[in-house]
Amino acid sequence: MSVLVFIESEEGAIRKSSLEAVSCAFALAQATGTELTAVSAGDADENTLAGLGAYGASKVLKVSDSRLATLSGKPVISILQQAVQQEGSKLVVFAISSLTDAVAPGLAARLKAGLATNVVAVPEISGSTLTAKRSIYTGKAFSFTEVSGDVKVITMKKNAVEASASAGKTASVQALAVNFSDTDFVLKHISTEKATGDVLLPEAEIVVSGGRGLKGPENWGMIEDLAKTLGAATACSKPVSDLNWRPHHEHVGQTGIKVSPNLYIAIGISGAIQHVAGISSSKVIVAINSDPEAPIFKAADYGIVGNAFEIVPKLTAAFKAAK
């Protein structure tokens, strides 16, 4: 018996959100007196995977198959189903991602497992019941949800549990041979378009976000400068992506990306309730807006009232000076 955690990697490096999931899964393994097994189907090599011992994994199952160059839901569901069987796992932990959003419910349905998504803290386990604190109403509230079923599956929200490399375990990396079904590879991958070199928004520790107050896409240079100075990802409000000033994958809010960085800097964003919903789990929110009555100041921890075109370059310089 063991707790299972699925990890994803980006250009060979394990995603931060996956490391957080490993730390969460390790806490659950300790709470239930079991070992932690990680599963990887990505491009992280054996050395990198062995490093998961520091985060609490005793074993890493590595799946290699030429058909897994780009991952899609069905083959990953098959991988995890067979890993659960082999390991006798009763609990599977995921980090939320564009892949696991389809994998976790598919796996739960295949195993008839209870599933809690959007979990914001290490769940409590008591007997055969798991109680998870979930983010609901798009960040406006939480629920305490009891999960039943012989196997249980949870998906963790980013930045909910700190990734801690102090578990002091040694992880052995083993190959997992998976019997795929014919229908696992019906998705044909055509192309991937991805911003390269930039910090990925959902993974970012710091987010610099611009709104309609910036007046046009040509004014985004100062947003990018500030983001670059801070090693931050850039984001925007819904009107900005609706106007095509910025790509949709930067849109943060109720119907866009929900972020939970340590620091969110909102520039020229009024703070409609739908935008605030997407940023409410940020640890610290800074608002820069010319309108002192803008609702964003109600959601913010720190604020500057004034002209963003004057403040932002000065702020960038101040961050540079403080480095």
């Binding site: 899609s72 069905k74 991602s97 564009s98 892949l99 959003d101 994998v103 419910p105 598919g106 739960a108 349905a109 295949r110 008839k112 599933l115 609901i136 109403y137 406006k140 939480f142 629920s143 305490f144 949800t145 009891e146 999960v147 039943s148 229908t183 019906v186 998705l187 991958h189 055509i190 192309s191 991937t192 378009e193 991805k194 990925l200 959902p202 993974e203 710091i206 801070l230 949709h248 119907t255 620091l263 309730i273 739908q274 919903a277 610290v284 800074v286 109600k298 959601a299 921890d301 720190y302 604020g303 500057i304 009232v305 002209n307 403040i311 702020l315 101040a318 961050f319 000076a321 403080a322």
Partner: protein, 246 residues
């Protein structure tokens, strides 16, 4: 072609969320209910595909009690041909997925669309479960969906960008913007919605794997600390020494 669009009946996005009964019940007093915004995108694309492909029918489905019928009528007004309401409270994703899968098995839909998640419980689970119960693929979150015969070309959002994939019908798609513009029902649509069929069926099975025990509001913000516009270095100092986030 037969298209099924599953819709949720959820509080309007501007709703101030509160709970009653010692934080165990959502307070519906004064709350406006709408078609889930993501489901509304799915519905809009479904209607476009129906209009582009003669002989296509589009059925809207909701798992909910009688109070959701005005929301379902909105989907009919927007362009769905008929609707099904499965008469049960949608409190658990597995339960809801089993209801949808039971209908879908009997009706053999070519395409099942829904939002990437509901905006009340933010589960994002039902599309993946329905696909698995029907043993067909699930794609999510879908931003673009074009059909050529029975082959679909899809753009789905991934971290920092998007990928383009192809697959054959049938499948389940969890949709989000900008897949289509929301459809504003015409007066004619609203009139005809009154007479379109809205079939009520009783749920099958009934097993649930999750239950909400209580709710909690996020801690209130302690109030914004304002920094003079000519002192950005003061903000930097506070972020460093007080908030400790840089």
């Amino acid at each position: 072609m037969k298209i099924l669009v599953c819709i949720t009946h959820v509080p309007d996005t501007t709703t101030r969320i509160t709970f009653t009964d010692n934080n165990t019940r959502f307070n519906t007093s004064g709350v406006q209910f709408i078609i889930g915004p993501y489901d509304d995108y799915a519905l809009a694309r479904g209607i476009e595909l129906k209009d582009a492909t003669p002989g296509t029918t589009l059925t809207a489905l909701n798992v909910g009690e009688a109070e959701t019928e005005p929301t379902i009528r909105k989907a009919l007004a927007a362009g769905a041909d008929d609707a099904i309401r499965i008469n049960a409270l949608p409190t658990d994703a597995w339960f809801v997925a089993e209801q949808i899968a039971a209908v879908a098995k009997a009706e053999n839909y070519d395409l099942i669309l829904m939002g990437r998640e509901s905006i009340d419980f933010n589960g994002g689970q039902v599309h993946g479960m329905v696909a698995e119960l029907l043993d067909i693929p699930c794609v999510n979150p879908v931003q673009k969906l074009d059909l050529t015969g029975t082959t679909a070309r899809i753009d789905r959002e991934i971290e920092g960008g998007h990928e383009t994939i192809e697959l054959s019908l049938p499948f389940v798609a969890g949709c989000q913007e900008p897949i289509a513009e929301w459809k504003i029902p015409s007066m004619r649509g609203i009139m005809s919605a009154r007479t379109k069929q809205l079939k009520v069926v009783q749920p099958t099975g009934g097993e649930k794997l999750t239950s909400v025990k209580s709710f909690e509001m996020p801690p209130a913000k302690s109030g914004v600390k304002l920094i003079p516009a000519d002192k950005p270095e003061e903000l930097v100092r506070l972020l460093k020494t007080e908030a400790k986030v840089i």
